[in-house]
Amino acid sequence: MEKKDIIQSFKDSLFTGLIALALFGPIVGLRTVSKGEGLFITPQWGVVFLLVGLCILGRFLININSARRTEFKIFSILSSKFSSITENKAKHFAITGILFAAVFPFLPFTDRYFMDVAIMILTYIMLGWGLNIVVGLAGLLDLGYVAFYAVGAYSYALIATTFGWSFWICLPLAGVFAAFFGILLGFPVLRLRGDYLAIVTLGFGEIIRIILINWYEVTNGPDGITGIPRPSFFGLPFKRSPDEGETSFHLFFNLEYSTMHRIIFLYYLILVLALITNYFTLKIRKLPVGRAWEALREDEIACKSLGVNPTNTKLTAFAIGAMFGGFAGSFFATRQAFISPESFTFIESAIIVAIVVLGGMGSQTGVVLASIFLIGITEMFRDLEQYRMIAFGGAMVLIMVFKPKGILANRKPTILMHGDKK
């Protein structure tokens, strides 16, 4: 390590500090406080200098680290932790993960809060798996996936509140509606790829949200839909005192009434739905249509020259991806019992795309890891309130630094001629 290197890295980190100052200065430094008759600006330069200092130090350490032969311990630990996540281990991880998920509600430390976070993570995993079909397999960058989530949620809510049908009838219907919207979006964007496709799908997501806000007669506009029926356990509702002529869950099984019953049921519901999504994706990937999706991602012109119909192939990807988004949406509606357009903003799409991309495009286990990592870390820092988004950003940066192709970027062939060589 030479003196020249140190000076060079020091200069570089000072420059980083300058950028950090430009960003944090106005964002963090100038705080508006409303006092009596108006807004007043209170500067908080102390925090700014702390953040800028952290940036300079961090950058300096990274620079020194890349210049030195031997790495800092923390870097080598982190990078070996990250690189130890491989597809082989992923298989063990999948099995233990499913087992752990199955017993999770009955573990001693599991409380209501843990269950809520787990349900949220599972919802994102399911959405990630659904979007993985469109983005990971078919290579169609869809930035408006939340639209299908919304279509599913609203279809479920409207059908359930209007006709009073049960969850198990409304769920497939919501999936069908979402798939229909998937095809509706698919048609105009058939000829688009890459950036252009991303922009149009982003617009589509916004269109759906704005329709939901403005179509007051049907969607109840920004007020949302309330009183969405809760799911029942095969006809047994989770109520303390059931209606006349009804038996509720705790009476039927002779249990003490607890609100946890419903939470646990919801947990298993989303777990099963997510696992169905996963099973379906793993299966269909090995079928001709799945291979055609991946081929389309690789080279559309070559696909045409081999007689693969790109229109049908793309539309099935959009439809199936949207269908799973719709299922997740109806789960969301029944869990919350209240939905409004506010739940379906662009940030949701962005998070789901982030989960798929950071997990490693097309990797099912990667989606799980990325969901736990991104959503879990953000949840862990909930006490920091609005600063928890820094944790979200930090988690993304960590993955990008140590695993630029995503947590699990290895693709396994869908069919082997010589069997597994190991």
Binding site: I284, P288, E294, K304, S305, G307, V308, I415, M417
Partner: protein, 263 residues
Amino acid sequence: MSNLLSVENLTMKFGGLTAIDDLSFDAKNNQITSIIGPNGAGKTTVFNCLTGFYKPTNGQMFLHKEDSKISLRKYTDFKIAYVAKVARTFQNIRLFPAMSVLENLLVAQHNELMVASGYSLFGLLNLKTYRDKEQLAVDKAKYWLDIIGLTHRADDNAGDLPYGDQRKLEIVRAMCIEPRLLCLDEPAAGLNPKESAELNKLLKFIKTEKQTGILLIEHDMSVVMGISDHVVVLNYGKKIFEGTANQTKNSKEVIEAYLGVDE
């Protein structure tokens, strides 16, 4: 030998530029017909018209089938490969690089497998009828891989193969759709002499063993002269000569326009 393809008065204009000007030629079954000419002569444009990527301004292209003939103009896009069974390769290789060699060959059999999998329904139920069909498709892939000697790399990514092997793989991938006409766009580009000799062998095998006519665009004269039964020479979109390889080699026009004189 019966006619396989007849191109009649084909004209292709891009705005004011005439890329192909009133071109007519025939290609026969079980023969290799080469299209040669200087860069920009319109060779790839002919291919793009034949394989449905461009719609010709004028003229007809017929594919003969026993007694009947079908017009290629009617088919566009993927239907050229699917219905008319005209396959092609590309000047710059277009494999599916992140998919395995075997998968590349299975995608080429997509339409048959799609029907066999009951549009995914039977496949999802894992029915035996589908599994058998899939095994047949794998066997067909293996047959072709054996011929080009790449069976041992079947499970590797296509993008990881050496350049010469990628060229060969692209050709056998096109053969997996069981084409009646195979259009090869500069298959020998970038190959060393040993590899082009192997390519010659492969093309001769396809020509004699399969019911397939080959249309070949090539600059490598060792390939063209070594295997062509018939040569069509283009210059500025016009046909300037047509004949056997030997006739072409000695034609004054062709030497002037393209081959050049040995010094």
